[in-house]
């Protein structure tokens, strides 16, 4: 019965079976339902129910009454009028008015009372990474919704609690008896089944049985789920579930498993042979099985891709087109001799002067098919100062060292002394002239990394006195009396967890535990704006590579896109099941990537806020993300010490770099993308050969069809160098424009 109600408007995983038998239902259902549900096969799992028919005539108990009403409503919603009539006749129900009296609790599955009116159904239908189903509005309009949810929560128990252990053991025995090649895939079932069965026992107040169940089987689970299991261990009562948003989402969303067709057939056949197959019910209700045609995956393959809170990714989620190419650089002519003749042109109209053509822009006038349109999202125009910056950039890039396996970068480490473990965020400007640190005592400090000191702009009175026509007016507006090596910025009221410089070096952003993101001016060294939106700690913030936009992510599980001149966010990226810990812009500023504590990575489209890519595979919260300079690939690092490489276009994992032993907080690609540097809490910086890692992978539509490609275990070959610091964890990495690697961290004396 439960699968019936659990999947309105939602596709099941290609499971269309003959009606099955279910017995020992707590509630009773009229047999008529079996006729009705055959019409629903298109929409739902075809699990029909036959159970002892309603005791003829006699007024059913209150619970049964509720159930019947709920079923009636469901049938009515799906326009099965005949079934509705039959049911009503058989059950001797008067009319709809009954539903009014059954006030129910109206809450979601998580709590039986009050709460907001968001019904369980709406939660269940908003299950996957994709946008919520449109059939049910999250805020229910009709008051029949609450009844259904009450019923559902009553039905969530699949049979006798004391038999859960028996069912689980039965499944375990079956899976162990299966062929090797299938065993790995079917073992994926253990964890979600275990958690769901445990949660059901807890939810239905079978505390002792839940504890016994947990003790018996928790040891069997995979090691990378241990953290979750530890949290579950403390949850023994229904009330504990109430406040725990993550677990509520887990309970209502569907855990995604990817199983090959052969293994799936095996499982199905086995579970249907047996009569009391509660497991099958649970699978249908709580799991989504994405079936692919191909070879069953090996244990290591499965291990590399699983670990996220809600299972793996469905293939269709990663099918949207992503414009990962870079925007065309405007053509700016670099003068061969410096200083004079800085003539700049817009795209496509080169002037013939004694200047060198800009080799940075694309040679061809054709649009890269994978690049977004120039005006796909509004971007700020280039100012004169930006053009000057670009020219400097190009000049520097001509002097850039070509890196490679034979030519490793030099590493310059900036150690923060006397930080007392309070350094929580670091950022460098693109030209490496300024360095900012965010601290746990809520201050932000900006240093000059060049001999040139930091100066504030003069006050109004003095500015009036300067000669405004002179050539070096930009120097004259600076007040020499305020020159210093570093400047402190005060304003936050909590530890500063993220800092980000603007590309034009005029602004600095900082995000803090106090829930605000502050914009500081680097000319006056004062705070300009406080962006309030997250009401919870903001873990990270990042400026767009073109300025003007910035993204922030925090404890409220969303990432927000802001523009500096709007006091409210422009976009809200909601979908993660737990805090958003890391946010980065794509080099073309059209996409934002977020890493979260739910161990998944999502790529969002700035234009419409949709999640276009969904990557799982990490076993711990993700703390660092880096795009390759060509925009095609993404590297991610987390607390499990692995760096994973992703192909954005195809939506696949293409590499796994093992070696670090602790959380990776810093990841950076070199300027041309040949080397990937990773820095971690284990006090090392490692250099990896990313060119080789990307070249080796052949990803085309054919191999990508299954949703995974075989990963070579070549971490050792790809490791080009490992460099230890004495006891300084690496918080940030930055490649200068000439490919010198800068690292930053706080010296930890103990």
């Amino acid at each position: 019965m439960t699968p019936l109600l659990s999947a309105p408007g939602e596709k099941m995983a290609a499971v269309q079976d003959a009606p099955m038998e279910l017995d020992s239902e707590k509630e009773t259902k009229p047999e008529i339902l079996s006729d009705g549900t055959s019409n629903l096969s298109g929409n739902t799992a075809s699990g029909t129910l036959s159970s002892p028919p309603l005791t003829a005539g006699g007024a059913p108990k209150q619970e049964d009454q509720q159930t019947l009403i709920a079923v009636l409503q469901f049938l009515r919603r799906n326009k099965l009028t005949e079934s509705v009539d039959i049911l009503r006749r058989e059950a001797c129900l008067e009319d709809q008015e009954d539903s009014q009296t059954l006030d129910g609790s109206g809450g979601g599955k998580g709590d039986g009372d009050g709460g907001d009116a968001n019904s369980l159904l709406s939660r269940v239908s908003i299950a996957s990474a994709a946008a919520p189903q449109s059939t049910l509005t999250p805020i229910p309009v009709k008051n029949d919704q609450p009844d259904v949810s009450v019923v559902l929560s009553a039905y969530s128990q699949q049979g006798d609690p004391s038999l859960y252990q028996v069912y689980y053991t039965g499944l375990k025995n079956f899976i162990e008896s299966v062929l090797d090649c299938h065993r790995a895939e079917l073992s994926q079932l253990f964890y979600p089944l275990f958690v769901h069965m445990y949660l059901e026992l807890v939810y239905n107040n079978h505390e002792t049985k839940a504890k016994a169940f947990f003790e018996k089987f928790s040891g069997d689970q995979e090691c990378y789920y241990q953290d979750d299991l530890q949290i579950l261990c403390g949850l023994t009562k229904k009330e504990h579930l109430k406040g725990n948003e993550a677990l509520l989402d887990f309970r209502t969303s569907r855990f995604v498993l990817r199983i090959s067709r052969d293994s799936y057939q095996l499982l199905k056949r086995h579970l249907q042979e047996r009569h009391n197959n509660q497991i099958w019910n649970i699978i249908q209700e709580h799991l989504y099985i994405d079936i692919f045609d191909g070879m069953p995956r090996s244990k290591s393959q499965i291990d590399s891709m699983s670990g996220s809170f809600a299972g793996e990714t469905r293939r269709e989620v990663n099918k949207a087109k992503v414009f990962y190419g870079l925007l065309k650089e405007p053509e700016i002519e670099v003068p061969l001799d410096d200083e004079d003749d800085e003539a700049e042109n817009e795209e496509g109209k080169p002037k013939k002067k004694k200047t060198k053509k800009d080799s940075m822009g694309s040679k061809s006038k054709k649009q890269d098919p994978n690049a977004p349109q120039q005006n796909r999202i509004p971007l700020p125009e280039l100012k004169d100062s930006d053009k000057l910056d670009k020219i400097m950039y190009m000049k520097e890039s001509t002097k850039r060292i070509r890196l490679g396996p034979e030519n490793l970068p030099s590493i310059c480490f900036y150690s923060f002394l006397n930080a007392y473990q309070g350094l929580t965020a670091v950022d460098f400007t693109d030209d490496s002239s300024l360095l900012a640190g965010g601290f746990a005592d809520s201050t932000v400090r900006v240093w000059s990394a060049t001999p040139k000191k930091l100066r504030k702009v003069k006050s109004a009175a003095e500015l009036n006195l300067i000669d405004k026509e002179s050539d070096d007016v930009l120097e004259r507006i600076m007040d020499e009396k305020t020159a210093s090596e570093s400047k402190n910025l005060y304003g936050h009221s909590g530890p500063v967890y993220g800092v980000s410089f603007s590309p034009d070096r005029n602004y600095l952003l900082s995000s803090s535990e106090d829930g605000t993101v502050r914009l500081w001016s680097l000319q006056t060294f004062t705070c300009l704006v406080g962006y309030k939106g997250h009401n919870y700690p903001v873990w990270d913030t990042h400026f767009s590579p073109f300025g003007y936009y910035f993204v922030s992510g925090g404890h409220d599980r969303v990432a927000r896109l802001w523009a500096t001149d709007h006091y409210q966010p422009l976009r809200i990226f909601a979908g993660h099941l737990a805090d958003v810990t890391c946010t980065r812009f794509h080099p073309n500023s059209n996409y934002v990537v977020t890493g979260s504590t739910d161990r998944t990575i999502r790529l969002w489209d700035v234009l419409n806020g949709n999640c276009v890519r969904f990557f799982t595979g990490h076993k711990g919260p993700i703390h660092s993300l880096a795009f390759s300079p060509n925009g095609k690939f993404l590297a991610s690092g987390s607390t499990d010490g692995r760096v994973l490489l992703w192909d954005i276009g195809h939506g696949l994992m293409i590499g796994e770099l093992k070696g670090h032993t602790d959380t990776i907080y810093a990841l950076k690609f070199s300027r041309d993308g040949e080397i990937l540097a990773s820095g971690s809490m284990d006090n090392t910086v490692r250099l990896w050969d990313s060119m080789k890692a990307f070249d080796d992978m052949e990803t085309d539509d054919f191999t990508a069809a299954t949703g995974h490609i075989p990963l070579p275990d070549n971490s050792q070959e790809l490791l080009l160098g490992m460099y230890h610091s004495k006891s300084t964890p690496v918080t940030h990495l930055h490649f200068t424009r000439r490919n010198l690697l800068l690292a930053a961290g706080a010296y930890n004396s103990q």
């Binding site: 968001n118 948003e245 109004a460 009036n464 405004k468 909601a574 979908g575």
Partner: protein, 250 residues
């Protein structure tokens, strides 16, 4: 850590809890903090429950009262982020609006001034006792500001009475025109450097800067002078913490 024999039972329970949750390294003071929190929380809940049970005219406090007490407290002290479907809903609403176009050549792109932190967060007390200096920018009349402004209009603000935006705007000083106001006591402002990190504005009020400078360098000071200065004088909604008492003592 003290040996288990000498540690009170409650602290032992805390240690066991930490061990169960897999936390092995912690400062010894964490136990004390947890104990304090527990005592405070339980006491609050039980007191609340007692109030509820007496309200319901029950003789004893029972589980329902406790449950109610917990529920009421949970919303106050332990807020949790909004539920997922709510977030998805507001995200959908927010993401439907197209991204706003960016106006070119606007200097520093900042939100409207009432959302910025660039306004002065203090106001000056008039030195002249007899003049009623209620609202408005308290100014000392006829204070020669000399170099501050080259416009002769400045001295016209002779009367120290309320100078609101309306009256002052008549004397546009700045090149950007729209948002400049002329303030007499800028010299005072120069000296009174308040505690807030933000008020560069009062000091840069009457600046005449080459327009080209603005365009190229986006220096904040030019455009953010803002009539905010004057508009926020008496209102200064955000700046409640300015201490007028301090100035009274001056």
């Amino acid at each position: 850590m003290a040996s288990p024999k000498t540690v009170p039972k409650d602290a032992q329970v805390m240690m066991q809890i930490l061990k169960d949750m897999g936390i092995t390294e912690y400062d010894p003071r964490v136990i004390n903090q947890m104990l304090e929190f527990t005592y405070r929380y339980v006491t609050t809940i039980i007191e609340d429950a007692k109030i509820y049970s007496t309200h319901a005219k029950k003789s004893n406090v029972d589980a329902d009262d406790i449950r109610l007490a917990i529920q009421c407290r949970v919303d106050q002290s332990f807020t949790s982020p909004p539920p997922r479907d709510f977030l998805l809903d507001i995200a959908r609403q927010k993401n439907q609006t197209p991204l706003p176009l960016i106006k070119p050549y606007t200097g520093p792109r900042l939100p409207p001034d009432r959302y910025c932190l660039t306004a002065p967060n203090y106001r000056l007390k008039s030195l002249q006792k007899k003049v009623s200096s209620s609202a408005g920018r308290i100014t000392v009349p006829r204070l020669s500001v000399g170099a501050v402004s080259s416009r002769p209009s400045t001295p016209t603000l002779g009367t120290p009475s309320v100078q609101t935006v309306g009256t002052k705007v008549g004397t546009p000083v700045s090149l950007t025109g729209q948002r400049f106001t002329v303030q007499i006591p800028s010299s005072q402002a120069l000296t009174v450097r308040s505690k807030a990190p933000t008020p560069t504005t009062p000091t840069v009020q009457n600046v005449l800067i080459n327009p080209s400078l603005i365009g190229s360098k986006n220096i904040l000071i030019t455009t953010n002078m803002v009539s905010q200065n004057s508009s926020s004088d008496s209102t200064s909604l955000k700046r409640k913490h300015e201490d007028e008492d301090e100035y009274d003592a001056l």
